[in-house]
């Protein structure tokens, strides 16, 4: 099942050339770029593992691509995403986020319904890995 998190999940997977163009967009905006990975893309799994700190002093996309290649070499069967952090007052949050690597087989989620009061159900999602 194709997980549709991130900005470009409905497009064909981005080529490295397309990824570079997005990184350059982030750098033009003065955003710091972080690489994160996980094997559990549960929608409530907020904290993916950081592949190092966000790159605050990055000058060009080439440096980023080296980091990304290193992350892919180590965690090629994980999801890898790029997060761009904006420190501007009033934002101070992620401004851009997109997936740049997916596992060969993507997991699915089981939806467990627990009947509670009346016809109300509580739902729990579990990642099937």
């Amino acid at each position: 099942m194709r997980i549709t998190q991130g900005c470009f999940s409905f497009l064909p997977d981005l080529t490295d050339e397309q990824i570079v163009a997005q990184i350059e967009y982030c750098l033009r905006n003065d955003w710091a770029i972080g690489i994160e990975f996980t094997s559990d893309p549960h929608p409530r799994n907020t904290y993916w593992e950081m592949f190092g700190n966000p790159m605050f002093d990055l000058n060009d996309a080439a440096g980023f691509m080296m980091e990304l290649q290193a992350c892919r070499a180590e965690h090629g069967d994980c999801y890898i995403r790029v997060n761009a952090f904006d420190s501007t007052r009033g934002f101070e949050t992620v401004r851009h986020s997109f997936i740049v690597n997916r596992p060969a087989v993507e997991p699915t989620f089981t939806m467990t319904r627990t009947e509670v009061r009346g016809r109300t159900v509580n739902v729990t999602l579990t990642t099937n890995r």
């Binding site: 998190q5 470009f8 409905f10 497009l11 064909p12 009033g90 949050t93 986020s97 939806m111 999602l125």
Partner: protein, 484 residues
């Protein structure tokens, strides 16, 4: 006797009727204080009524004045309670209309109450006979007053963090037909739209709890649909459950079920009133709930240029009152809205500080004192073929809602949703790559349609649909054209 100069002492308080300017509601030399609340009115005086006197009358009738002199004014520091008209300018190109600037001392207003604010500013004065028409164009709130409001319960930043969606506008659709579906059929539409790629589905403004669908039924089926769609995509989704009802007690009851079933967002209509909005905003803040406001009814008083209230003022009141989403116009869709004027509303919602921007209808600086930002919603007669225009006009922090443009898709609702999502992502990708989307947009969409059949079908169905009518509520400072 000069009838534009304030009279003093015994002469001022002799029983009888004076001009408003003579009573002290006009002061052309007044320098507004940083702590004053400022209002800009467009006044159209009756024939023969002097514009300065008309402005003074508006200041008087929206603050302390009555039609005649009363001696009891002398018991108070009356001059400080009197609003001051301090500037009157003819409106460019509109004979007989004037912009009247009025300053109000902060003591006139109760803290944290839109009801009190509006009871003064729009309470009596709009029916005042010496004016043919009156329109509240803009307001400036001092930081001291802004800080008495809590503002949006969630705000754009936290909403995005909760939804884990960054770097692109959010996508939504209103469930159609808006009336008549049973709860089970209604939830089907919600599921299809979300599974196909939308972030949000939405109740319409007049979906409450009619005979065809009890609200509990709707909530339970919609949340089944939301949760299934999340499970099928791995992505956070939501449905704006409209909790508008006849009493606050019933609204809280509906909100509680929304919370219990795990909804991230609830919805209210503007017609519930300012106090109800502030109350439900407080509830939303205490219950981790995003609060969506549908501006139902606003067109009755915001649309005409000479009379009523500009929507930019409503947007300011709503940012103070505390909503997270507000419908703010599309410029390109089926509903009223000149592009520059609509961008002005968006800036009111999203900027930390508004600078004066006359072409966009922003007449005052406004420091929002770190009040959270409101997510504007573009909804009404828009479709995938306009994606480049929408992204160019409004940027990332907006919800684009394609109701008919999703549900009316020839290949079905999921396909309609996918078409919109693909069009959006392709356009954001191209913009970030530095391409000129306004000019290359149609080609970017056609290129994506080559591998995305639903987008191709959407463009074939709606590609040429425009609503190209002149706007009635246009900027007074630039020649405007409707975007097609």
């Amino acid at each position: 006797m000069d009838d534009k100069t304030e009279l003093k002492g015994k002469q001022r308080y002799a029983a009888g009727v004076l001009k408003y300017a003579q009573m002290g509601y006009w002061d052309g030399d007044y320098e507004p204080k940083d702590t004053d609340i400022l209002a800009l009115f467009r006044i159209t005086p009756q024939d023969g009524v002097d514009a300065t006197e008309a402005a003074a009358a508006v200041a008087g009738e929206s603050s302390t004045a009555t039609w005649t002199v009363v001696w009891t004014d002398r018991l108070i520091a009356a001059d400080q309670y009197r609003a001051k008209a301090y500037r009157v300018d003819p409106v460019p190109g509109r004979p007989g209309e004037f912009f009247a600037y009025i300053a109000y001392d902060l003591i006139l207003f109760e803290e944290g109450s839109i009801a009190n604010l509006t009871a003064s500013i729009i309470g009596n004065v709009f029916g005042f006979k010496p004016l043919k028409a009156l329109r509240l164009e803009d307001m400036r709130f001092p930081v001291a007053y802004v800080k008495t409001f809590k503002g949006p319960p969630t705000g754009i930043v936290v909403e995005r963090e909760r939804l884990d969606k960054f770097g692109r506008p959010l996508l939504g659709a209103t469930t159609k037909p808006k009336l008549g579906l049973s709860g089970k059929n209604y939830g089907r539409v919600v599921y299809e739209g979300l599974k196909g790629g939308l972030d949000f589905m939405k109740d319409d403004e007049n979906i409450n709890s009619q005979p065809f669908m009890h609200w509990r039924d709707r909530f339970l089926y919609c949340m089944e649909a939301v949760n299934r769609a999340i499970a099928e995509t791995g992505e956070m989704k939501g449905h704006y459950l409209n909790i508008t009802a006849g009493t606050m007690e019933e609204m809280y009851r509906r909100g509680e079920l929304a919370k219990e079933t795990g909804s991230t967002i609830v919805m209210i209509d503007l017609v519930i009133g300012y106090t109800a909005i502030q109350s439900i905003s407080e509830w939303a803040r205490q219950n981790d709930m995003i609060l969506h406001l549908h501006r139902a009814g606003h067109g009755t008083y915001t649309r005409q240029k000479t009379h009523g209230i500009s929507f930019r003022v409503i947007a300011k009141w709503m940012r103070l009152a505390g909503v997270d989403h507000i419908h703010a116009g599309t410029a390109v869709g089926k509903l009223e809205g000149d592009p520059a004027t609509v961008q002005g509303y968006y800036n009111v919602c999203r900027e930390m500080k508004n600078e004066v921007d006359l072409p966009r209808g922003i007449y005052f600086e406004q420091d929002w004192a770190n009040l959270k930002k409101v997510m504007p919603v573009a909804s009404g007669g828009i479709h995938a073929g306009q994606m480049h225009q929408l992204l160019d006009l409004f940027g990332d922090d907006v919800v684009l809602q394609f109701g008919g443009g999703t549900i009316g898709h020839p290949m079905g609702i999921q396909a309609g949703a996918t078409a919109n999502r693909v069009a959006l992502e392709a356009m954001v990708l191209a913009r970030n790559e530095g391409r000129d989307i306004l000019n290359e947009g149609p080609q970017i969409l056609r290129d994506a349609a080559r591998w995305c059949k639903p987008l191709g079908a959407a463009l074939d169905t709606w590609g040429d649909i425009t609503f190209n009518y002149a706007s009635t509520d246009t900027s007074d400072f630039v020649p405007t054209a409707s975007v097609s």
